[in-house]
């Protein structure tokens, strides 16, 4: 509960919202799906800007990209036609790994990226697919590759006067690719112990694209381009899938947690990656 909250702003435009964030110098923060209001306990926060009024609720696709506004809910992505069609249902699989329907009806794209909870699926998806994140502040806009954005915690990357406004997934660059997103958790709605996002394209029997990210092993999602490069040009067989999975699982940083040992999570990650690749090869 934000005990010192004095103002709840519902600006009618993005420009007005950004102006408020600039004016607040860290005392006014954006609020997306709203877990912030109920959970955050920061005496410094005196105002919140409701991002649901800023016109950032959209899912649009053109030849090159699928663009999703940061105010879009996870359910909004799952229920949108472009979201359903993208990479054979990749974004639907990804969204459904998050909590429950009630949570998905509230959690926004921007919050999912910024908060970077264990259940944040979009960071893993964006990193795997070479997506981008657009941030705006009054009069300025910058777009970062997911690899750059998730190199450090988003709390360090996003300025106090800045707002995540849009994410984009490649369409043209992944034409002909197959994708899959999965999680391992104790229950259907439980937080993932491991999540895996993958895209694969095979041309003339050889791997032309191999992009795999793993999540929930530590705060930041992880991807290993140097391992991916080693396997490009090879056939995607049960053997190469197993070798790739073992290499990634060995390289991955895994933090200790209550639910399972580091070694258990490493083994689960390896098996999930192997299974995913075998399925995508099929």
């Amino acid at each position: 509960m934000l005990k010192n909250l004095k103002n709840y702003y519902r600006p009618a435009s993005l420009a007005a919202g950004l102006a408020l964030l600039k004016k607040g110098k860290g005392t006014i923060i954006p609020i997306g799906g709203a877990t912030t209001l109920a959970v955050l306990d920061s005496p410094r926060v005196e105002g919140v800007v409701d991002v649901t009024t800023l016109g950032l609720d959209y899912v649009k696709q053109d030849r090159n990209e699928l663009r999703i506004g940061a105010g879009t809910t996870i359910s909004g992505i799952i229920e949108s036609k472009p979201g359903q069609k993208y990479l054979g249902g990749f974004l639907v699989q990804s969204g459904l790994t998050i909590g429950s329907t009630l949570n998905r009806n509230m959690i926004t794209v921007g919050g999912n990226l910024y908060q970077l909870y264990l259940w944040s699926c979009l960071p893993v998806a964006l990193l795997a697919l070479d997506g981008t994140i657009t941030l705006r502040k009054a009069g300025k806009k910058r777009t970062l590759a997911a690899a750059e954005f998730f190199a450090t915690n988003p709390r360090q990357t996003v300025g106090s006067d800045e707002l995540i406004t849009e994410i984009a997934f490649p369409v043209k660059a992944l034409a002909g690719a197959r994708g899959k997103f999965s999680k391992f958790s104790k229950t259907a709605t439980g937080y993932p112990m491991v999540s895996v996002a993958a895209a694969v394209r095979v041309k003339s029997g050889k791997l032309d694209r191999l992009q795999v990210a793993v999540g929930a092993l530590q705060t930041l999602p992880q991807r290993f381009p140097e391992i991916e490069r080693r396997f490009l040009g090879q056939a995607l067989t049960e053997t190469t899938a197993a070798e790739f999975a073992a290499a990634v699982a060995t390289a991955a940083a895994i933090v200790k947690e209550l639910r399972a040992s580091v070694e258990f999570k490493r083994r689960v990650a390896e098996e999930m990656i192997r299974e995913t690749l075998v399925e995508l090869a099929g």
Partner: protein
């Protein structure tokens, strides 16, 4: 203190709220006590309400965001003194034990059946996956939603 205007169960209301309040507290303060307080962490679904027809957890929903919205609580399901088809069916099949989760279950089911006339069992499970019941084991609840769907479809 802020004043918001929202339509609750079909009636336009002006509500005085604090900027940091969540909808759960405001609705209960104004007499909508069918909105149950459970975990306050968005996990149990006891506080489910419909906002413009979409089920959300009122314990996380900022009250100020409700400005101009159509809100439905369980009290809005039995207008005109008659239980809704879902409520009647829940009673008939024994989908209620202690009843604490029931308002949330009924509202989530109602939102599902507005969108999907004949949902599969998997679709029912997904729609109710944020509403926890510690008594029934869900079998009767799922049966209640499926039977409600059949009845509503048959009534048209």
């Amino acid at each position: 203190m802020l004043t918001i205007t929202a339509t609750i169960n079909g009636d336009k209301k002006e509500l005085a709220i604090q900027p940091n309040e969540v909808l759960l507290d405001v609705l209960r303060r104004h007499g909508y006590q069918g909105v149950k307080e459970g975990c306050r962490e968005g996990e149990c679904g006891a506080c489910t309400v419909l906002v413009d027809g979409v089920p959300v957890t009122a314990c996380f929903y900022p009250a100020a965001r409700a400005e101009g919205k159509q809100l439905t609580t369980i009290e809005g399901m039995d207008r005109h003194g008659k239980l809704s088809v879902i409520q009647e069916t829940f009673l008939e099949v024994g989908a209620v034990q202690c009843g604490y989760c029931t308002p949330g279950m009924v509202l989530s089911a109602s939102a599902l059946l507005k969108k999907t006339k004949r949902p599969t069992t998997d679709e029912i499970k997904t729609a109710l996956d944020g509403n926890l019941c510690r008594c029934t084991g869900y079998v009767k609840i799922i049966e209640g939603v499926a039977k409600s769907a059949a009845r509503l479809a048959g009534a048209k």
